[in-house]
């Protein structure tokens, strides 16, 4: 009972001081009919050594932990400087509360201010917030903000066909009840990217509140922020850039440089474990002119009474604790500890480190893709696009070879490899499915060559 120091004697003493003879009397406001008359039927308590062994045993059932993974789709298994675990694990950061009292929270406040500064620079925007839950909910928040900027409470949203599947599902859950209509921005079946040719789509200028494009898209292909800007202007809508992989900003031009209105993404690759899905980190950037409509916590710089530089939560009037039902969002927490990890990551990596890790992932992905492309040359039962990628690409199958993906995944698993994730593809492309493969600096050339071997074995059949 090491977290429960109250002794029986003190308990009796307190009851006496409260003028009652029993705990039941003290809590008389709880009706007897609702009181539990038994202990909870949960597993018995474990001591620390037993607890450690128990959790270790549960963990050991994750066979994936011992395998080499090529899974991606918005969450990427990168390395991080190990010192981040020590620094972010300091009790002063880990066990600190939300920085509502700035005099005792400058550690948190300054680190989030620095995080905001770095994310803004990376994305090419003037402002970043202090983070949201994840990339998918950041996309939702961007659309809601776009509507507010247009002084509308609902409308049509042109949604790029290449959005991650998880993101699409989350959009429906949030936007359907609010009356938003998600209009598909269909991809060009040849290039698997969105284009400026929107004449065939059932939309008119003035009825679209936002245009949303993700790059790289879910097939790993780099899309054009120029096209996003072009289409939003045509439609008089707010442009939203969803980053498929934040490291891509180390190699590819930032959306801010193209005059995009809002950028969102997931910052998990910045020093945060894949962790079976969470906690991750929602990135959200916009222009200073729009900052009053931005959701989420915001840290600003100011001075204290002696003129010293200090940081505090600012523009709180956007938030739920003041605006209540008129708040920009119901969000209360940010992902502060994850934003801290990301800030540490960006600080330790610096611009050169980020460019280097991006180059490693890119080069290795290009290497694997080119070896596999060479392997399947001349075949018409498998297809790999040669479009621009970052660290992820897709092998497409037609109806005649639909079962190959399961076959290759099984063959890879037998070799201790999780070869990626099945992704759906528009029928217009002529394919029925794809296998998405993501590569990071964790994969050695030997690893990649092994993948080529595994794949080639499945082709002999």
């Amino acid at each position: 009972m090491r977290y429960l120091p109250l002794s029986e004697e003190t308990k009796k003493q307190i009851l006496k001081q409260c003028g009652v003879s029993s705990f039941e009397e003290l809590t008389a406001q709880v009706p007897d009919s609702l009181r539990l008359d038994r202990l909870l039927d949960i597993d018995p308590a474990l001591s620390e050594p037993e607890l450690l062994a128990h959790l270790k045993c549960i963990g050991s059932k994750n066979r994936a932990a011992a395998m080499t993974s090529y899974l991606g789709q918005g969450t990427y298994d990168h390395t991080w400087p190990v010192v981040i675990d020590y620094l972010s694990g300091r009790g002063e950061f880990l066990t600190a509360y939300t920085p509502y009292q700035p005099e005792v929270s400058q550690g948190t406040l300054q680190s989030i201010f620095e995080y905001q500064s770095m994310v803004a620079s990376l994305t090419g925007f003037e402002v970043s917030n202090g983070s949201l839950y994840d990339g998918a909910t950041a996309v939702v928040e961007a659309i809601l903000m776009a509507a507010r900027l247009q002084r509308k409470d609902k409308g049509k949203v042109l949604v790029a066909g290449g959005l991650f599947t998880e993101t699409k599902k989350v959009l429906r859950t949030y936007l359907d009840p609010l009356g938003f209509e998600l209009v598909p921005w269909t991809i060009d079946p040849e290039t698997l990217q969105c284009t400026s040719k929107i004449e065939t789509l059932d939309i008119k200028a003035g009825e679209v509140v936002a245009v949303l494009l993700q790059s790289p898209n879910r097939w790993g292909l780099v899309e054009s922020w120029r096209v996003l800007k072009d289409v939003s202007e045509k439609l008089g809508a707010v442009s939203i850039a969803a980053l498929g992989h934040v490291h891509s900003l180390g190699l590819f031009e930032a959306p801010g440089a193209f005059g995009i209105d809002i950028a969102v993404g997931d910052g998990q690759p910045l020093g945060i474990p894949v962790g079976f899905g969470g906690p991750h980190l929602g990135l959200f950037c916009c222009h200073k002119r729009d900052v009053r409509q931005m959701p989420g916590r915001l840290i600003g710089a100011t001075k204290d009474t002696s003129g010293k530089r200090a940081f505090c939560v600012t523009l709180a009037t956007r938030e739920q604790h003041i605006r209540r039902e008129k708040a920009t969002s119901n969000i209360c927490s940010n992902q502060s500890l994850m934003a801290l990890r990301a800030a540490m990551y960006m600080t330790l990596m610096g611009p050169e480190g980020l460019k280097e890790v991006a180059t490693l992932s890119h080069s290795k992905a290009v290497y694997l893709r080119s070896r596999l492309t060479e392997l399947i040359r001349g075949r018409n039962d498998l297809f790999i696009s040669d479009g621009e990628i970052f660290n992820e690409f897709t092998i497409f199958v037609p109806q005649t070879n639909a079962l190959w993906i399961d076959v290759v995944l099984k063959a890879a698993e037998d070799e201790g490899i999780i070869l990626g994730h099945p992704v759906d593809v528009p029928v217009s492309t002529g394919f029925v499915k794809g296998l998405s493969i993501a590569v990071t600096e964790k994969h050695s050339r030997e690893d990649l060559d092994r993948v080529v071997d595994v794949v080639s074995q499945t082709l002999l059949k």
Partner: protein
């Protein structure tokens, strides 16, 4: 003790109304309102041309820790909007009855002016 000017009319929502020439009125918020709010950080009011209806919300005024709605005291068309105040709302705190003026409205129904409070009546509201 907040300042209440005897020659103005008032509303329960702590706005003041000054009759001007040509059937218009100038409006703003009272000294009591600005001191309750604290330092004003943001003001949102409509531009000239907007039609207002008495009792409806026409804008908001914010301080660091609060947001208050602004209610139209009378119906009419906005003929002037104090954009300089929007750029720097400090005038609301420093000179609520002068530089802190917000809108000039062309009154569409002068009978509504009868419903406003006199300085004496407002005094009991602003306690």
């Amino acid at each position: 003790m907040s300042e209440i000017k005897s020659d103005l009319l008032y509303t329960k929502e702590h706005e003041w109304v000054r009759k001007a020439a040509g059937g218009t009125v100038v409006i703003g918020i009272t000294d009591f309102a600005q001191s309750s709010l604290g330092d004003v950080t943001f003001l949102d009011i409509p531009d000239a041309g907007k039609e207002l209806r008495a009792g409806e919300i026409f804008g908001t005024v914010e301080s660091v820790k609060s947001v208050s709605d602004l209610y139209a005291p009378v119906s009419g068309k906005v003929v002037k909007s104090n954009r300089a105040l929007v750029d720097d709302p400090a005038g609301i705190n420093q000179d609520p009855y002068g530089d802190g003026w917000m809108l000039e409205i062309q009154v569409s129904n002068s009978a509504e002016l009868e419903k406003l409070l006199s300085a004496g009546q407002y005094e009991s509201v602003a306690e």
